[in-house]
Amino acid sequence: MTDPHESPSQTPRVSPSEPADAQVATLSPPPAGAPSTGTEKARAEKAAPVKAAEIDTGRSLLGTAWLRIRRSRIAVAALVVVCLIVLFAVLAPVLTAIEGQDPFTSRTGGDYLDEFYTPGLPLEYYRFPSTEHWLGIEPGLGRDIFARMAYGARISLTIALLSTLVSVVLGTVLGAAAGYFGGKVDMVISRIMDLFLAFPHLLLVLSLTPIMQSRLGGTALDNGSLLPIASLVIILGFFGWAYLARVVRGQVLSLREQEFVEAARAYGASRRSIILRQIIPNVMGVVLVYATMMIPTNITAEAALSFLGVGVKDPTPSWGQMLNAAQAGNWYLSDPWFLAVPAGALVITVLAFNLLGDAVRDALDPKSSR
């Protein structure tokens, strides 16, 4: 395979490689969203990354992104919130230990729950935040809401991050293979992509998750909470790669025509080395943008599936499972706080990841108009 047998679908203009990226950045004014602090220092910062990238001193992709993200106050705030949420999830056992509670102990009976007017509703002291139970206790089972939210964060984020990782690896590898090899490989992979894109994801995931769980049952994964988590990661990851693969394929199609790839071919680089050293590094920008945007999608998807009762199931906590519990028996009507905790956690997290995704896109995509 010496010569490509297919011309790139796009006109060979801006590749996502750093030099081209930087050129566009030099021409266009700073993004409109960036706050115009106007100080000399800010100006100096604005000029610096562009210059550095222009002469391509090898500033890493993340370095470039970071320098641009730093200019937008919203982006920095989103990044800080995302870091705090991740920290919160990592430290869940520590925090619940400080609180002195755990997510599984149930408290029933008249000491904790109402037995007469609305049976199961926590007594007023336990319904709202207190020093004993930072976010109150659940109606019905009387488990500590803060502990469940903290452990739920671990599970929701783990599922979202791992399934994104699965999609990104599949999407990048298959997309790059389709774009670089062309011909039959491209045809087969592209048809599979079409197939995946045409499937109604939620419906299929909805009906496949129970199947998946019964198939995995009895395997090494079948201990307690691991099974639903593993099957959600596999299913969400497996259904999310096609769109990214299509984008990567398009990028690779135009990249492989570029001089630097030709040069690599001319000095006798192996195909493996061309793909790994020349092509992949140049599509990482696009991959990073889509990965950041995929995370909130997967957080929402986990919440949706667990809410529908096919994802993470009680007693394992996740934010979607907590929403499900709030709707079950209409508890959210008599105890709105029980709904507010998982709903708030979910919205803040998805919002922060979405804003971060926008910022990463603006920072890495030269065509972005915002």
Partner: protein
């Protein structure tokens, strides 16, 4: 154009066949054994074996698929030899739970899904495109920032959160709207258009919050891109009025991607607004699918999955054709 449509049509049929085959295979891998699921809880091995024969599962996989698909061309007989019942055309099998024709179940659910989808689509298109256009015209002013900010929050509101919040506020706390009833499935029934409207208002809003936000972002982005193009400058230099420039020249080009998105979203929504229907207990396609998935009712889930895929694929073809009609710069080949 005709050639293009013919080719797309042929590709569409091929893709549908592949999808039906893949779906069929996926579900055959199913939860251990559909036969024992269909047979019920207290089932002797002999009864399971009977059920397998009744479901046609004793036959080779490929012939099961062929006989399933033949139901789309003609009515066919379903059940064990000797106790067969007719499954009317178009046949998608019979429900494990109720033994009803799957087609009949879908027919019953479809009006509810259409009710949810139609109003939501109108609402989010009007709000999304309107606000997106407004934001683009007022770029960097306060209005723009407000709309863009609201859209950022809107895309981050998952439907379960919005839906439950709407129910809590408007139905439970302030009691200004009724809880959705499944007695109203169309504006032409006894309740009339007014009752239908009030009944579906909350599901529409729940969907529209999320979708409007996406449409605002796409409309605004595309309009801003269009405003910067040469033909817009030409229009301005010709001395056209501002509305003339914005609507006749700008909107036509800037709106095309929105039409694409709308077409695909309609296709998606016709396959059932799963979460919305679940939250508001609307017995539409999505609601039926969730129930069937929980009960392991394979013929129903499979038929709904295939139908939803069908809508998505048809929407894709329609959108491609519409693209060429709206945007003169796109020529199909």
């Amino acid at each position: 154009m005709t050639g293009f449509l013919m080719r797309r049509f042929a590709a569409m049929i091929a893709l549908l066949l592949v999808i039906s085959f893949v779906t069929f295979s996926l579900f055959q891998l199913g939860p251990a054994d559909p036969a024992s699921a269909a047979c019920g809880q207290e089932c002797t091995p002999a009864r399971v074996a009977e059920a397998r024969v009744a479901l046609g599962m004793d036959k080779p996989f490929l012939s099961q698929y062929v006989s399933y698909m033949s139901g789309l061309l003609d009515s066919r007989l379903v059940g064990a030899p000797g106790a067969q019942t007719v499954c009317e055309w178009p046949c998608l099998g019979k429900s494990f739970q109720t033994n009803e024709d799957v087609t009949a179940i879908i027919e019953r659910a479809l009006p509810y899904t259409l009710s949810v989808a139609s109003g939501a689509i109108v609402l989010w298109t009007v709000v999304g495109v309107g606000l997106g256009l407004l934001a683009a015209l007022r770029k960097d002013k306060f209005t723009d920032k407000l709309i863009v900010g609201a859209a950022s929050v809107g895309v981050s509101l998952p439907i379960p959160v919005t839906g439950l919040l709407l129910l809590l506020v408007f139905v439970s706390t302030f009691d200004v709207l009724p809880f959705t009833t499944n007695e109203i499935s169309s504006p032409f029934g006894e309740a009339g258009p007014g009752g239908w409207f009030l009944n579906y208002l909350l599901p529409w809003v729940a969907l529209a919050v999320l979708f409007s936000a996406q449409y605002i972002r796409v409309t605004r982005g595309n309009m801003l891109e269009t405003f910067g193009e040469d033909f817009m400058r030409t229009a301005r230099s010709k001395g056209l009025s501002r509305p003339g420039i914005v609507f006749k020249h700008g909107a036509r080009a800037g709106i095309t991607p929105v039409v694409t998105m709308l077409g695909l979203d309609i296709g998606l929504l016709l396959g059932g607004a799963v979460l919305t229907e679940q939250i508001f207990s609307v017995p539409g396609i999505g609601f039926t699918a969730v129930r069937a998935a929980q009960a392991g009712d394979l013929p129903v889930t499979m038929a709904i999955t295939m139908m939803a895929a069908f809508f998505i694929i048809v929407a894709n073809v329609v959108v491609d054709a519409a693209y060429a009609v709206i945007d003169p710069r796109v020529r199909v080949s």
